[in-house]
Symmetry: C2
Subunit: 216 residues, 2 copies
């Protein structure tokens, strides 16, 4: 009498097919150039059918972003290196690798502004906070081991390293690097520079965020 169960399984299978088709199309042609009709055609359903699985095209987008975080998180969990600093390195390097292996996931998770709702819901994604805590916790233990100058805040280290590696990932993803430029080497060096700088100690500077506006 597993009729309900089977029906539910079938529903999930179709939803899965929609997401797979959408992801493949997004990667191949970009979100903007993928229409519901194209997704429908790929899974051999009518366009209208999709709307009984997802309320809108944006929601397909969001569902994929959610999956992206899940993938990145499970990736991060298997982090283990002898040197604790190496483990930090590896953690952020993995984010960069992720941006290469899953460019479309990365784009929706960290870059895309074309989906209106993601900006709103961003902080609601439990994944973001979880990822942050995972890394920040490890960084804290490293700080406690005295591998960073006294008074260093784990949260600040996390944000700075994230921003650094993020910059390279986005430049690469958005094709804003010279063709000759070796993105991997740049990623390594940028991460290394930030890490070295943090360990050397950066001036805590002016407490208030200095407003040296350029006025142009």
């Amino acid at each position: 009498m597993g009729v309900k169960e089977r029906q539910e399984r079938e529903r999930e299978a179709v939803a899965r097919a929609i997401l797979d088709a959408a992801r493949e199309l997004f990667v191949a042609e970009g979100y903007r150039n993928v229409s519901i009709r194209k997704i429908a055609e790929k899974i051999e359903y009518s366009p209208a059918a999709i709307y009984s699985y997802f309320p809108s095209k944006d929601d397909i987008f969001l569902a994929l972003a959610e999956e992206g975080f899940r993938i990145l998180l499970t990736c991060n969990e298997e982090a283990s290196a002898a040197d604790p600093i190496d483990r930090i390195r590896a953690g952020f390097w993995r984010l960069y690798e992720f941006s290469k292996e899953h460019p479309e996931y990365f784009a929706l998770m960290f870059v895309d502004r074309s989906v209106p709702s993601i900006s709103q819901d961003w902080q609601r994604f439990g994944f973001v906070r979880e990822m942050k805590h995972q890394m920040a916790a490890h960084i804290q233990t490293v700080i406690n081991d005295g591998l960073f100058p006294p008074g260093t805040e784990a949260d600040a280290v996390f944000q700075i390293l994230l921003a650094s590696i993020h910059g390279v990932a986005v430049l690469r993803l958005c094709e804003r690097l010279a063709p000759a430029q070796n993105a991997d080497a740049l990623a390594r060096d940028t991460l290394e520079a930030a890490l070295t700088g943090l360990r050397a100690g950066i001036p805590r500077a002016l407490q208030t965020a200095s407003s040296q506006s350029s006025d142009c």
Copy 2:
């Protein structure tokens, strides 16, 4: 007999009006949500008229990106600080400020992937190369003054600092920071960390870009 001149002036005025209207609408509603019809309505012309000034919506986009580079470049020219390191700081800080003051320009110039052609034409933009040369030239003199470890490449310094500040700018622009997070402070610290790290000297590491893939 300045008929041709007057006609040309009028053409430019309308083109200007289209760009202004498009920019305002892009900032207010985002590229995706702005239609040619909306732009046309704003300047009180028919939608078709726009196509005798720009071949496509994407070309309006590109024209604005070009303007963005011009603005950023003229901004950068008035760079002058006593300390040569401060001048480097100021240069990249200006890019960050630019991302705040002209978010839509910045987005088209550095992060947008929704316009298919920009990825192709990116390297053709003389502006990009010019901006790079401007900064790299100054960095070279600083290196010559011995303020960086011997053997440091100006181009690498430029790329690393650019990537670092770019990361913060994008995180802020795309609203991927916690609401409490002070973006300016993060920008300052990230830039400082990279600069400190570069001056301390980062290992030139494995020559070939190490392929430490995470395989997930």
